[in-house]
Amino acid sequence: MTKIHTGDTVKVMDERLGLCKWGAQLWTRELAREIRTELEKMMDRLPGGGVAIIDAKGVEVFDYSFANELFGKSLLALPGEYAQRFLIVENLTGYTRENLSRALESLNLAMIERKAGKLQLIGKVHPSDQATFSIIANASEPVTATFLKDRLGINVTAVNERLSKLTALALVRRHAGVSPAGRQQYLYSVLS
């Protein structure tokens, strides 16, 4: 990997919202609205690069309306209102993952799930976007479009298209860096 010098230092901060305090079975948009208020307060406190974690441990089920209101609305607000923050979900069961994935698919959205320490995308994800995301997520430091071009074996225009899409969905963070030759370039990372 090309050695990259990032121009700034980002202090990463995580905040966690445990859903189980609202119960094991989470029904209705009305309940999700109440939880989303808590999540928004948490997102407001996060600095750029910060990570909001929705912890679904202990939750057995939520319906689609709940998922749309809590996850869907928060993801839609992410690029505009909470730029450079990440929203991830953890500890989904097989059933809650299936419901969340279907809910996100019907909204044309995707989000990051941390499962067994690894990051993956769930929801409406094209396999090529998933592959791009995986390379960025598994890299030990922020990567460039050129690096991705070499790893994926595609041209730089196609890489930039994928990166634009992932960045617009707030799944990948883009920040300015400096190449070894001293030129300014964009760097891409998932969780800093």
Partner: protein
């Protein structure tokens, strides 16, 4: 497109989500002089039929009319009482003859493990407790697998929330029954409905929706993801997910609103449209194959 119009006026001998249309066409309660339902020949009743009749009685009461229901079979009267129907509609309708014994609703709740009695849902915030109870009944009494019980509750939640998301001054009704025919093929039937504005009127409030001319069009549009009264990209997926879950369980769904009805056979993933006698609101009948652990 093939439209099947119910014009026959015959006495119904069973009350379910199909024969209900004949009952309403015969009674003509919203436009005729009389306001009565003849169930004297009825020998069998389903939860979806009961919910449809309950919502009809409540819409008539909202219009200032007082419906009468005539029964003939004492065992049917007894079932209506056990199923909570009599108690649910007592404030808005009269059942004749009134000599048939009625049991207060409170004593019925949970008395039959095979049934969620006709239950009035007055507020959206009542739904979670009801859904938790349905999961419990399916899991513990009917031995459903967890994910199948959750699927059933999810469907009820999505449909039930529509009642309160899109209407004011109305309420919803739900009933559920499991059937175990001797020849096999056990299934669960759920009836859920309201007497609100109906799908067409609700969707017309959003100017971004396509022009909707009929109730049938409204039903067909409403089952597509993203079509809603609200101009909100996270709305309008409830009926879409209802069909998806029914498809997963190879079930049957009937969506009735106003003058339109679409019956979906999910084993073939096909919807069959019907023009039917007018009833306000939205009524849904759902049959899912019964699954055990």
């Amino acid at each position: 497109m093939l439209y099947i119009v119910f014009m026959r006026k015959q006495v119904v001998d069973r009350l379910d989500s199909v024969t209900f249309d004949e009952l309403v066409a015969r009674a003509d309660p919203f436009f005729g002089d009389e306001c009565s339902f003849d169930l004297t020949a009825v020998k069998w009743v389903s939860p979806a039929g009961l919910v449809q009749l309950a919502t009809t009685c409540y819409s008539l009461q909202k219009m200032g009319r007082h419906p009468f229901i005539f029964l003939g079979d004492e065992s049917v009267a007894s079932y209506l009482s056990r199923a909570g129907f009599v108690a649910a509609i007592r404030p808005v309708a009269t059942i004749e003859p009134n000599s048939f014994a009625t049991v207060p609703l409170d004593r019925l709740r949970g008395s039959n493990p095979m049934l969620i009695e006709v239950t009035k849902i007055e507020r959206g915030r009542d739904l979670p407790a009801l859904l938790n109870n349905i999961v419990m009944v399916l899991r513990e009494k009917l031995k459903y697998k967890k994910r199948d019980a959750f699927d059933v509750a999810t469907v009820i939640s999505e449909v039930g929330q529509n009642t309160f998301d899109h209407n004011k001054e109305t309420c919803g009704f739900i009933a559920m029954q499991v059937y175990e025919p001797r020849h096999g093929g056990s299934f669960l039937e759920i009836g859920i409905g309201d007497y609100g504005d109906g799908i067409a009127e609700t969707l017309r409030r959003n100017p971004n929706n396509p022009v909707i001319k009929t109730d049938l069009e409204a039903i067909q549009i409403a089952t597509k993801p993203g079509v809603s009264e609200h101009d909100d990209p996270t709305r309008g997926t409830g009926l879409y997910h209802l069909l998806e879950i029914a498809y997963k369980h190879e079930g049957m769904v009937q969506i009735r609103s106003g003058n339109g009805k679409v019956r979906y056979r999910m084993d073939k993933r096909m919807g069959f449209p019907f023009s039917v006698a007018y009833v306000p609101g939205v009524q849904i009948a759902l049959q899912l194959t019964r699954k055990k652990r």
